[in-house]
């Protein structure tokens, strides 16, 4: 009872310290907990695996550095799978803070897979306008993005010779952290232009997309770091998402424990006050 009483006045900095240590230790000493691949992740992987070799895919990376731990690993693995199939990648960004990060990710994986900028992949950069840009791309990708992320004319790149509008892509990959992102692509593009689509989203927004998965509007989905880690497992890669899952496991267990403990403390206090 004494321990529970002391918990009533627990300084929240102790909680912060425990969370910090629980996240830090598995990152330094991995636990290698077993991963299980869920059906939406398997479907995401299969949708890309079934693409014809050498096709051009639109990858919309709508996030900023805040979502880096969740969305960058899945972007990297997606790009690796596409490049391994010799697919070309046209990347766009609808978040104003994301263009620089997406450029680094694209160039990093491009270098790793020895792909040439402008021939095998291109970063069209950021464009303001949210849903209006999505619809505008349906009338012409190059007219919606006349210049790439570095300010060079888009039409001058060899990759853009084969690209007209959404009909040029057999698949749209939307990796997003919120608005504008996957939901708007489903509503404005998938519904209107009937382009097959898969999505990678943050864990907090993943429940929002289950109705679209069930209707087939999304062929597959990666939800948060867990989805990215499962995808890495399917691709036999050991990236930052897999490393992060041990830390996330510890944090989730601790939060569940906090809910239980917080209620036990509250319950005993109410009983004591009533007596």
């Amino acid at each position: 009872m004494g321990a529970l009483r002391s918990l009533e006045k627990l300084d929240r900095r102790w909680i912060f310290l425990v969370v910090g240590l629980l996240v830090l230790f598995p990152l330094l000493w991995p636990l290698d907990l077993p991963l299980y691949v869920s059906p939406p992740v398997q479907a995401y992987h299969d949708a890309i695996a079934e693409l014809p070799d050498g096709c051009t895919v639109l990858v919309s990376c709508d996030y900023d550095p805040a979502s880096r731990p969740e969305l960058v690993p899945m972007t990297e693995t997606t790009l690796r799978q596409l490049f391994d199939k010799r697919c070309k990648v046209v990347a766009t960004v609808l978040w104003n803070g994301g263009a620089g990060l997406v450029d680094q990710v694209l160039r990093g994986v491009g270098e790793e897979k020895q792909r040439v900028y402008g021939v095998d992949y291109i970063n069209l950069g950021y464009k303001a306008g949210n849903e209006a840009v999505m619809v505008l791309m349906g009338q012409g990708i190059a007219s919606a993005f006349p210049r790439d992320n570095s300010g060079l004319p888009t039409r001058g790149f060899p990759i853009m010779r084969e690209v007209r509008d959404y009909s040029s892509f057999p698949l749209l990959v939307s990796i997003s952290a919120g608005y504008p992102g996957t939901k708007e692509y489903v509503q404005q593009v998938q519904g209107r232009f009937h382009i097959p689509m898969v999505a990678g989203v943050t864990a907090v927004s993943a429940p929002e997309f289950y109705p679209y998965l069930q209707t087939g509007q999304l062929r597959g989905m990666l939800g948060g770091m867990a989805g990215a880690a499962e995808y890495e497992k399917l691709r036999r890669e050991k990236g930052t998402a897999t490393q992060g899952m041990d830390a996330q496991s510890m944090a989730h267990v601790f939060i569940a424990l906090c809910i239980v403990l917080g209620n036990v403390v509250q319950w005993t206090r109410r009983r004591r006050d009533a007596a």
Binding site: P65, A128, C258, N263
Partner: protein, 216 residues
């Protein structure tokens, strides 16, 4: 006329954009494309307006020496410095190795990630202090939250690996997400879509006028 003309323009453009969804003929699609491009330009100007407003509000706070004025000074100074450096770099300001990208990599990116990472600490603290189970509904919510939280991470599977597949945490989590969660989410989506349609119709018909001057 001062009110009627904007209402007429809104109704005409709204109806025209709905028409363009169903009629792919050039007579409709070309003006619709122009309107879409105009919308993109208007949004871009929104950023200019937003930036100017941030400066106005913060300069006012600095001038009046409000309690948090040093922070406002840092914000306004950073905004102007980033803007100036980006403008000096020219069109390729986002290319590798520019000063603008140095600011992005070394300042914006880590600060943005740090702000989001703090969430983990506050969620844990809130779980201990605020997640109170006082009713049956709150109990069900807490139970579902814990099952999903543990089922989404490998440790939950490691703990229940000895159980038959449907009753492992992973299986229970998938069932919660696919069935009850999905049903509730779909209902919310349908409700929201009907609300958006009703609001759109109210705007086109001129019933909803709050966007003009705050009038209902």
């Amino acid at each position: 006329m001062k009110r009627e003309f904007p209402l007429f323009v809104t109704a005409a453009v709204g109806l025209f954009m709905i028409l363009s969804f169903f009629v792919p003929h050039q007579a409709v699609s070309v003006p619709a494309d122009f309107l879409q491009q105009s919308a993109v330009i208007v949004v871009a100007f929104g950023y200019v307006l937003g930036g100017a407003n941030v400066l106005r509000v913060n300069f006012d706070g600095i001038y009046r020496r409000r309690p948090d004025w040093p922070y406002k000074l840092v914000l306004a100074g950073s905004l102007l410095a980033t803007l100036a450096i980006g403008a000096i770099e020219g069109r390729g300001f986002q290319s590798e190795g520019t000063r603008f990208m140095w600011i992005y990599d070394q300042v914006y990116s880590p600060m943005s990630a740090t702000m989001f990472a703090l969430l983990a600490f506050f969620i844990a603290s809130a779980a201990f202090r605020a997640f109170r189970i006082r009713t049956l509904e709150a109990g069900l919510l807490a139970l579902a939250a814990m099952l999903v939280m543990l089922g989404r991470v490998p440790i939950g599977n490691a703990w229940t690996q000895w159980l038959p597949e449907p009753v492992r945490l992973q299986g229970i989590q998938e069932w919660i997400m696919d069935i009850p969660q999905n049903a509730a989410k779909r209902a919310i989506l349908i409700g929201a879509a009907l609300g958006v349609m009703a609001t759109g119709l109210r705007v086109i018909l001129g019933i909803e006028r709050s966007y003009l001057s705050g009038e209902d």
